[in-house]
């Protein structure tokens, strides 16, 4: 084993460039470093302009409203603005652009100053529009790699995912395979990118043809008539046609992405695009010798930092656990399949360790960061813990007596997808019931028909909800039913770390305590409101926050204050 790494000494005075700082993981890492390693040099944060809001304004809003920044607000109070200006340099940029959308002078300055690039940015939706996936996950990574190549001495830590392994079973070692595809057949990443781009162009061209236009026009007219609106309203017709066209293009792009991913053995577009990004980087290993890839498994609520249960947005287990709190009971899952969840603060610490190892020159080429190899949580256990957490919540805080007495005791169970009470079967029953209600003999009284129609509509609504659940489950099946992944996470454990607060020891996770007491309450507070179309609880720091106009102390790389090109 190499000498122990001191996180504080290693990062002292070193400049780090961070992408994806507005995301779940990037934010936790940034706060953790600023809070626990104030000796760090400068952290350059690349943020994209959003809705004409420059990086500086976006960052100010994030710091002022995100609960993740609570430890910094608590520690620095009114001084937080000054502290951040001293430590964080905000850079307007766009990873989708070849030069990261940086002003040339700013770019040169960064290339000189930066010691470590942590590339956290990525599109994490399972099945997004293939254009977005390629632009953000593949092109964005390539552009970052170009920047590192041009820089004087920067090392690169690329954040990927364990699931780039695709639909494989068994032990997944920490291994980089050039031009990897899960089906084992030769895969040319560059060729695939070109092919995918050509397909995208083809789909766009298809949507410009007269035939498609006519078809969309007809559909728009039909929609207008169905809604009882005026079909002669040309503006309405144009708008609906445009919306239908956008939707049709998006659907075609998703289908194309899925087709490409499934064909070569990836379960979704996300893992397909992340794997291609890895392949691009592996191909540049000679030109970027100081590079590592960190592959977290399923990143979930924090164990303790910034506070227990912090979570953000639509994450992996959120929708599943939400559904298990409803009347839906049978989760299709294979017994003993690992559900490789890891709290976000463990991953943030893993990033810190891998980054430090890169700076010290002792990094492994790839780090996997999961729990399935030494502290396994199985899908059925996660399902039972979820049910128990819902039970605890519903018994104490259910909004109706039915929730408190009945739903709380209605436990979710892991079962076979072909179970008698599968979504498909219940959906068929609901459909049959609706048909029965609508098919009552005409001679029966009108009142009965009206009542039957009401029941039929209820059955339709149940069927629609079940279909939504079914679509969602289809996305998850590769992870909870079809495949059995065990990710090795040995490389991280090889590094001895001096500061105990940065050690990643997944054996200390007590799944029951974490799942019922921390993770589920976190999801309930920060994520479930989003599923219900509500806004999660707002975070308001005790002392109102704003970024001072000028840095209190000019750094060596001063002058990079959100200069947009």
């Amino acid at each position: 084993m190499a000498n122990p790494i001191s996180i504080r000494r290693t990062y002292a005075g070193r400049h780090v460039l961070l992408t994806g700082a507005s995301g779940f993981l990037g934010k936790v890492w940034l706060v953790m470093m600023l809070d626990l390693v104030p000796e760090i040099g400068r952290v350059y944060v690349i943020l994209r302009k959003k809705a004409l809001q420059p990086a500086r304004e976006r960052f100010e809003k994030i710091v002022a409203s995100s609960p993740a920044f609570a430890p910094l607000h608590d520690r620095y109070g009114a001084d937080l603005g000054r502290f951040l200006v001293e430590r964080v340099e905000l850079v307007d940029g766009d990873l989708a652009e070849p030069d990261l959308g940086l002003d040339p002078a700013v770019a040169r300055q960064l290339e000189r100053d930066v010691d470590l690039v942590i590339h956290c940015a990525g599109l994490v939706d399972f099945d997004p529009d293939i254009r977005d996936a390629l632009t953000t996950n593949v092109d964005g990574t390539e552009h970052i790699a170009n920047f590192v190549e041009r820089s004087d001495h920067a090392a690169l830590l690329h954040i990927s995912t364990c699931y780039v392994s695709g639909t494989r079973n068994g032990e997944i070692p920490e291994q980089l395979i050039p031009d990897y595809a899960p089906d084992g057949h030769p895969f040319d990443t560059e060729l695939e990118r070109r092919d995918a781009r050509a397909s995208i162009e083809r789909i766009l061209a298809d949507h410009e043809g007269d035939e498609k236009e006519t078809e969309l026009h007809k559909q728009a007219l039909q929609q207008i008539r169905d809604r009882g609106l005026n079909p002669n309203n040309s503006m309405l017709l144009r708008n609906i046609t445009r919306r239908l066209k956008r939707q049709s293009i998006k659907n075609a792009m998703i289908e194309e992405g899925q087709r490409r991913a499934y064909k070569r053995g990836w379960p979704n577009i996300y893992t397909y695009s992340k794997s291609m990004a890895e392949s691009l980087l592996i191909a540049r290993k000679d030109r970027i010798p100081r590079m590592s890839i960190l592959r977290p498994a399923i990143v979930e609520s924090s164990m303790s930092y910034p506070f227990p249960g912090w979570n953000q947005g639509f994450n992996t287990s959120g929708p599943l656990s939400y559904v298990l709190g409803t009347w839906f009971r049978h989760l299709p899952a294979r017994n003993n399949n690992p559900f490789d969840v890891i709290p976000v603060d463990y991953v943030a610490r893993a990033i810190t360790i891998a980054g430090a190892a890169l700076l010290e020159g002792c990094a492994a080429p790839v780090y996997q960061c999961g729990t399935s190899d030494i502290n396994r949580l199985t899908v059925e256990r996660a399902c039972e813990l979820t049910a128990l957490a819902h039970r605890r919540h519903l018994r104490d805080r259910g909004s109706t007596p039915i929730e408190r007495v009945l739903l709380s005791r209605w436990d979710a169970v892991a079962s076979d997808p072909e179970h008698l009470l599968s979504t498909e079967n219940i959906s068929s029953v609901a459909d049959g019931f609706a048909k029965l209600m609508r098919g009552l003999p005409k001679r029966w009284p009108t009142g009965l028909h009206r009542g039957a129609e009401r029941w039929a509509k209820k059955a339709d609504s149940v069927r629609d909800k079940l279909n939504t659940i079914d679509r969602m489950l289809t996305l998850y099946l590769p992870f909870i039913y079809e495949n059995h992944f065990v990710f090795h996470s040995k490389a991280l454990r090889e590094h001895e770390i001096e500061e105990p607060e940065f050690v990643v020891d997944t054996t200390d996770i007590d799944w029951r305590v974490y799942w019922i007491g921390i993770h589920m309450p976190g999801l309930r507070k920060w994520c479930y409101p989003l599923f219900e179309g509500k806004t999660p609880e707002k975070y308001v720091p005790k002392i109102p926050f704003s970024l001072p106009q000028q840095p209190a102390q000019a750094p060596s790389g001063a002058g990079l204050r959100g200069e947009a090109r």
């Binding site: 256990r381 039972e384 813990l385 128990l388 039970r391 605890r392 169970v413 799944w511 019922i516």
Partner: protein
Amino acid sequence: MNDRKTAAFFRAEGTVLKRGVLAASAYLAGNAQKFGERALRLGFVAMAAPLHGLLGQNDRTLATRVANLAFRGMTEDRIAELSEEYARDILQHNILDQGVELMKRARREGHRVVLLSDNIRLIMEPLLPHLRLVDELVCNTLEFRGGEATGKLQDPVIGGHGWKPWLERYAAEHDLDLSQSVAYGAHGPDLLLLSTIGRPCAVNPDYTLRRAAREADWPVIEYRE
């Protein structure tokens, strides 16, 4: 002068708690994961009930063992969560105030307060914050393998005939003078415990214990609502 320490042994069921082991088992069994499973597990508890009634005047270990068989195959997660829930929502409200008063008195008299329960540790431990006077909890331990309950209790099972050797060992470990120690029991099976201790006391005794207490001239305490 005797400098050895003394203890006050309280049999939880009947002296400190209103509810016994069958109620706890029924609660856990009735909240198993699947509906069919609930019925089956409740059946085991129902089988334990007549044993408890018939043999309970003498030895409750068999009834306790059968009642705990109902947990076989249940996950440790579920048993732990339901136990916490049972302790918090039910058992906590069934603590006998007079029992707590007896514990206070024992403490004032300088005794080490030992609570002896037929219930499993997962149920009793969450209750301890509500019984702060207890110095040590001695109760049954359910065996788990691979995260699931085997349905077996680890030996020695509390509530049987093995009080004498257990007490002697316990007294030796803690340097206790049993002749100056106190014991409170409420049921027939507690007889052997009470007879081994210098200062026994029957609390709301059942038929068997009442008769024995009368014969041995032990003090009897009757709680009043």
